[in-house]
């Protein structure tokens, strides 16, 4: 099926093309700097990724109004990888080799990111990845502006332990690499904090799962033992709507069994009535409701650009903004868009987070972020109930035995994505796993 799908999308059978692949070639080739946008505009992930494509067009438009970059105008090259992971690699190659883009902003699922990694390494280009992910990775050509597990999952668990007195945990996720790795880290973290193994329930469901009756009723049973129970949801994409609808209908209230989600933001909540869900939580590094001047200005400009005063903003959008601003600064500092120069220049640069504080690009290619916990409100927005100081992103989790000793540092003299601090050797992941 995917083979045919790819063939059709690749041939551009008119269908995929209707979404407007390749946009605005307004300037002659040598006068513009090209920026690749690699987000699915069709298929299952289009729901989430289309907004990020629009965000990039918005940012490039804003930058061009300010006079562009290095005296040149920016030009977006938009392609549609159609939620098809291998196609991401093909499209990335096309962006770099055929269109000669200076940097690429894109990908959402970890599967798509893993698919493009070899391409960026081989062709020595730059990818900015704007989504929270499972960690255990740091690549020379990739900048991770979304949250690492220590910037989202771990603080969320801490919040529930300390503020809600949760003793029993359901880890529910979609069956793929991000939830599995995150849950592995969380399970280890919970066990380390004295939670008994029988107080942890782990459940996986396929992509797009729609019949949640059994699972929700299992959660209800699991949570009725008298111990405070919470659900940590790494359920991704469109499976969330039926999940929350079933929660509401089976009468699971946030006061009894709170659900904290890592992949549900304002954009996803726009898909249903949130009145029965008030009090369920989400952990992010950004909420639209955060009251800062930077955020207010961003929302106003974004809604004006989209021509829709109801258009919501969300966390991956903020990560895209931060990534773009850091890249612009790095290019200005280096005075060129040359990959190696930009890679060197960007480490240590700062740009404001929309939620306050400065995002700093760390040597491990992750950034500093505050962690916010929000409760869902009846209007589909989040009310922040907890806000942390800036947390530096940790590429390799300290809670997994196989990655405890691994650090990433792309500055000299280490210049390595998986450096074993004990053996002082690069490629530490394999070494540690072998032990």
């Amino acid at each position: 099926m995917t083979g045919v799908n790819r063939a059709i999308a690749g041939l551009g059978l008119g269908v995929a093309m209707t979404t407007g692949a390749v946009a605005v070639p307004a300037f002659a080739q040598d006068e513009t700097i090209k920026v690749g946008v690699l987000h699915s505009l069709s298929g299952t992930m289009a729901i989430s990724e289309t907004t990020l494509k629009d965000t990039m067009l918005f940012l490039i438009d804003e930058q061009n109004k300010k006079g562009g970059l290095l005296g040149k105008q920016l030009e977006a090259v938009v392609v549609d990888p159609a939620s098809d992971w291998p196609l991401f690699a093909e499209k990335a190659r096309e962006l770099i080799e055929v269109n000669g883009v200076a940097a690429v902003f894109g990908c959402w699922t970890s599967s798509s990111r893993k698919s493009v990694l070899p391409v960026f390494e081989e062709l020595n280009s730059i990818l900015f990845y704007p989504v929270q992910y499972e960690g255990e990775e740091s690549q020379r050509n990739v900048f991770y502006t979304g949250a690492a597990p220590n910037q989202q999952a771990i603080p969320a668990v801490d919040y529930l332990m300390e503020n809600a007195g949760v003793e029993r945990w359901v880890l529910a996720g979609t069956d793929y690499v991000y939830p599995q790795t995150t849950n592995k880290i969380l399970e280890q973290y919970l066990l380390d904090h004295g939670v008994a193994a029988e107080d942890i329930m782990i459940n996986y469901t396929p992509f797009g799962h729609s019949d949640w009756q059994t699972i929700v009723s299992d959660i209800k049973a699991f949570g009725s033992t008298g111990k405070m129970t919470a659900v940590i949801s790494t359920i991704n994409g469109d499976a969330n709507v039926p999940f929350y609808k079933e929660l509401a209908n089976q009468g699971i209230k946030a006061e009894d069994i709170p659900v904290i989600a890592f992949s549900v933001g304002e954009e996803e909540l726009a898909g249903f009535d949130t009145t029965p869900l008030v009090g369920h939580l989400a952990a992010w590094n950004y909420f639209q409701s955060v009251d800062t001047p930077e955020n207010e200005a961003f929302i106003a400009a974004w809604q004006a650009f989209m021509g829709n005063p109801d258009k919501v903003t969300n966390d991956p959008m903020e990560a895209t903004v931060i990534g773009f601003n850091l890249w612009v600064q790095a290019v200005e500092k280096a005075g060129t868009t040359d990959t190696d120069a930009v890679l060197d220049a960007i480490i240590g640069l700062q740009t404001p987070n929309l939620t306050g504080g400065m995002a700093t690009m760390l040597p491990n290619h992750h950034i500093t972020k505050p962690v916010l916990i929000g409760e869902i409100q009846a209007d589909g927005q989040f009310e922040v109930v907890s806000e942390s100081d800036l947390v530096p992103g940790d590429a390799w989790s300290d809670f997994l035995p196989e990655s405890k000793l691994i650090e990433a540092d792309w500055t000299a003299p280490i210049a390595c994505g998986n450096y074993n601090t004990e053996t002082k050797m690069c490629g530490g992941s394999e070494v540690a796993a072998a032990q």
Partner: protein, 539 residues
Amino acid sequence: MTFIRYFIITLMLLGAALPAHAQLADTELAALVDALAPGSFKDREAAIGNLVASGDQRAVPVLETLLEGELYFDEASGKVVFTSAPSGKGAIADPITGADLPDLAEGGLEKVKVNNNLRRVLRTAIGQMTLLSPIRDMRLSAAQSILRDADPAQLDLLDTALAAEADPAIGRVMDQARAVIMLKSPDASVEDKAAAVPVVQAIGGRDALNTLTAALATAPAEIQPAINQAIEGLARDRAAWDVAQNVWFGISLGSVLLLAAIGLAITFGVMGVINMAHGEMVMLGAYTTFVVQEIIRQNYPGLFDWSLAIALPLAFLVTGLVGVAIERGIIRFLYGRPLETLLATWGLSLIIQQAVQRIFTANIREVGNPSWMSGSFELGGLAITWNRFYIVIFAALVFAALLLVLKYTAIGLHMRAVTQNRRMASAMGIRTPLVDAMTFGLGSGIAGLAGVALSQIGNVSPNLGQGYIIDSFMVVVFGGVGNLWGTFVGALTLGIANKFIEPYAGAVLGKIIILVLIILFIQRRPRGLFALKGRSVEA
């Protein structure tokens, strides 16, 4: 009369059970209420505690407003206020006296924040303060809240309330709450605990089971056999109800499969067209519901509960017409060429998806549940959600209606004639092209009806149909191509089998097991459960 009696009793009890100053001076109460605004959630919890300790009934509406998240305070003065409209809009009033506060402006107001923990504290607080309320519903919900918390510290209050309670229904809840507290409390006497066991057992369900299991550890030796017996009885009941619950889940899943597959049973099963765009017909039906609800929301909000009834015929018409257009425009040129039909309809499905995405964007669209389809009800030990319940009934109705149409109407007769022997039917004067178009339209229209129903349990996005197309083909092939009853039995069998496998194997493995079972089954019986017999099949 009764009211006055309650009132007097309440007054007496208030004096007896609660601290002496049950009615504070306005300024004192105002100070306590204003203390809700500043500080952290912990400070707010303490402030709620102080309000409860004051015993002043005028604090109850304040706490209830806070629980709803609609309590505001003036940023400049720190004064807590009520607003007449939700979200801090409308006239601003004093929460105690109800007097207007014209000096304060809407813009200066800030919400008093609540979180889950505070909501729990508030529910308990309101429960405590209203357990002696003269209003029946308030007392009932207060008693239920005490039962849920089962905090031994509430025992004295509960006893006073129990002595005064005249309503048997509320009295029963209070008795149950008392029994649960007795089992929980380490100080309760053996007699009290022994008496509590049958009361808790009578509550039934999982909560009672958990209460008893927890109590067993601390119970004195002499009542342990009684508790064990109660636990055994409850566990036996629970196991039986769990099986029933699984069967219900299976029927519910089966009804969804049936709805999704039944249109396909006509286009694929009866006409033999491999229609890959079937899922998109379901999706169009769901979007029709969305458009209808949008129009109703904007123009006639009062009609919202009727939105589905309005959407049903419209969805049938829209998707039916699209189906007729597809048949006339594409499929009629491809009869007898299954591979080309498959490719053409599949391409068509992509075109429809992208078209919908262009019009409605890729975002998930909100389709609301009318009030009569929200929530759940208890049937014995079963918890049945209303939306699933109605979908089961709806699926049965659609199926029955389709059978009747095919069996007793002229168009149904023609359809059957054409599918059984096209040339003979044509020779008898039936206009076979028209019948083909009508049949395909009917199948598509029914897919549209399914879309209306599925919009109530899933999400409405351009990919909606893709999630159901594989399952639909599975049901039709499993049940036996060309046989509606086969589709019916097939859908229910798959639904129930899935729900019995899922608790053991998990959702992911469960789906794989079902697929493997179907493949094995098709190996044994290539024509499915109910194979058509006769010459037309052999041809």
